[in-house]
């Protein structure tokens, strides 16, 4: 990477990890500049969690190297553990301990004094809206509360680098929004964060830069805007009155599309990558009117990260299996913003 090495809180070079005959990571490079958020994106099984587990010293890599805050995760694992916080995929809280006991325990294990651990625990519970539940066993917490307690636990020693592995998976939309606010607050405090997620909207909201991995390799990187620009063009999106009309509309408009149109029978929505802006929109409307297709909604929009994902990996972000319904653009090789 061209960014200055000393300013990067996390540096990963050529990371390789194999599980038996299965290569989980096949030469991953990435860097997270100090005080920024990197979104590590990819479908299930892409290798996101493996990266996090190597960086947090839980796993040892088979090749390549990685440093966190300038410390080598393989040879200086003990020191690395002192400067990181980890929030794994499941909320790792002890359900029999109260909120405050959970945080105190982790604080003590980070070698904070008793008083210090207690006062930071109380502060964090307050900040994560858990003060009222501080003296209740975590067993009684909702999923969102457990996640917040889990993140609070990983913050108790004020880590320089925080790893968040799918922090909102399994949360309802309201809790997810709340969690985004908490994470955004952390960022404004200057914490460096590496965040994995399957939710593109989440990465768009929180991350300064993104790395997209698939099958253990980096397939794209850049800011959200850069990734969207990389995909290019605009998206013509329209909703028709019935399923037969969806097929008809697809046929009528296919010649306007730059790439294979994507249709969804459930929402009766058709999405086409196009160029030419308003003129293309007018042409599409003319053709559909001639064909007698009922239009419920129509619009032009910039590509979003879902489009990026689909274009890069040939499948939607939240679906590990290749999709068969016309979204079969072959995966491209890496187009880096170096």
């Amino acid at each position: 990477m061209s960014r200055g090495g000393s300013q990067d809180a996390v540096v990963v070079e050529g990371l390789v990890k194999r599980f038996g005959g299965n290569t989980a990571l096949d030469g991953v490079d990435l860097a997270v500049p100090e005080g920024t958020v990197l979104g590590l994106l990819g479908p299930n099984g892409a290798g996101k969690t493996t990266v996090v587990r190597i960086l947090s010293t839980l796993l040892q890599a088979d090749g390549g190297r990685a440093t966190v805050a300038g410390l080598d995760v393989a040879t200086q694992a003990d020191q690395v553990r002192g400067v990181i916080g980890l929030t794994g995929q499941y909320a790792a809280v002890d359900e029999y301990l109260t909120g405050v006991e959970n945080l105190e325990m982790v604080g003590r294990l980070y070698r904070l004094g008793k008083k210090e651990a207690r006062s930071r625990a109380v502060d964090l519970l307050d900040r994560f809206d858990l003060s009222d539940a501080a003296r209740r066993p975590a067993k009684t917490y909702s999923g969102g509360m457990r996640r917040r307690l889990d993140i609070a636990a990983s913050l108790i020693a004020r880590p320089r680098v925080l790893f968040l592995d799918e922090p909102t998976t399994g949360l309802d939309p309201r809790s997810r929004l709340g969690m985004w606010e908490f994470i955004a607050d952390l960022v404004s405090d200057g914490t460096t964060i590496l965040l994995t997620t399957q939710y593109l909207e989440e990465a768009d909201r929180l991350a300064d830069a993104m790395v997209v991995i698939d099958r253990g390799r980096v397939i794209a990187r850049g800011t959200a805007d850069e990734l969207k620009a990389q995909v290019g063009g605009e998206r013509l999106e329209l909703t028709v009155g019935s399923v037969p009309e969806l097929a008809r509309a697809t046929e009528e408009l296919r010649s306007l599309a730059l790439d294979e149109p994507r249709s969804d029978e459930q929402t009766r929505r058709l999405t086409l990558p196009v160029s030419g802006g308003a003129a293309t929109l007018a042409e599409a409307l003319r053709r559909l009117e001639q064909a007698g297709v009922t239009l419920l909604d129509v619009g032009l929009r910039r590509p979003d990260l879902d489009d990026v994902f689909l274009t890069l990996t040939g499948r939607p972000a939240e679906d590990a299996a290749p999709s068969g319904d016309g979204a079969s653009t072959p995966a491209r090789t890496e187009e880096t913003v170096r």
Binding site: R53, Q79, R81, A92, Y96, M105, R108, L109
Partner: protein
């Protein structure tokens, strides 16, 4: 702070955490002590009349050291299930990402289970006193009797810790350990005198460390009157020494193996 004081203080934090669970879920301790009480009563009153003992000893005095040993050995199996549960819930990952001592999670677990076993023994001893068990030795000897039971159970806990780390499913740990522990505690002098065993089984039972823990406890509690002979096997003639050797060997083998397994838990 030195590495040793770090290990001690981290282990205390983890021990405390494990004991809080006992406080919050009193059912745990209730059931942990109810089953030995049930065993005491069942064996004392149901089987007691059918088991032939030489003159000079009552079945209650014969039985209680056996029940103590069986209960603490079974109590140690909870170590495996608890560790498997921590693994499943992601707590081991969290602990491993902290700058804490590498052995503290296992030490804290086995020490907490030692505490649970101590509580069980107290409850059983009180029940035993009610059904006719007596300590016929000196106070230091009696304390020695309780200690050897706990030392052996502590060693078994470390074996179970390794099982829990390798098997990873609490229910499977429970079933697997039951298959091993149940015969070990029954093919022994726990409930019936060894004289009644067929010869091959009898040799196994004589050298089974569960038998020697029981024998050591009987000797130390004064539940082995001189009028009642003990088998000639060296193990049973020197039960305290033989048991301590077993405990030392188990710890020497399983502590390093369990710590290594703990460090390698993140396979996926």
């Amino acid at each position: 702070m030195s590495a040793l004081t770090n290990t001690v203080s981290d282990s205390l934090v983890i021990t405390r955490r494990n004991l809080i669970k006992v406080k919050r879920v009193p059912d745990l301790i209730v059931f942990a002590t109810l089953s030995p009480i049930m065993f005491v009563l069942l064996f004392r009153y149901v089987f007691g009349g059918a088991i032939n003992l030489p003159d000079g000893i009552t079945y209650a005095e014969f039985l209680l050291p056996g029940i103590f040993a069986q209960t603490v050995v079974f109590g140690s199996t909870t170590t495996g299930a608890s560790i498997a549960e921590d693994l499943q819930k992601g707590l081991i990952d969290r602990f491993r990402s902290l700058p804490m001592s590498r052995s503290a999670v296992l030490i804290g677990r086995t020490v907490a289970d030692l505490g649970l076993n101590a509580i069980s023994i107290v409850v059983m001893a009180l029940t035993g006193l009610l059904v006719g068990w007596r300590i016929n030795s000196s106070v230091p000897e009696a304390i020695g009797g309780f200690l050897i039971l706990l030392v052996f159970a502590f060693a078994v806990s470390w074996m179970m810790a390794l099982v829990g780390l390798l098997v990873r499913t609490p229910e499977v740990v429970n079933n697997a350990s039951f298959i091993v522990i149940f015969p070990l505690t029954f093919v022994a002098n726990t409930f019936v005198p060894l004289e009644s065993f067929p010869s091959v089984l009898r040799t196994f039972a004589e050298w089974n460390p569960v038998s020697t823990v029981v024998q050591a406890a009987r000797n130390l509690f004064g539940n082995q009157p001189d009028s009642v002979p003990v088998a000639d096997a060296w193990s049973l003639q020197n039960p305290v020494l033989y048991t301590l050797i077993w405990a030392a060997v188990i710890l020497a083998v399983f502590v390093p193996l369990a710590v290594r397994a703990y460090l390698g838990t993140a396979k996926r």
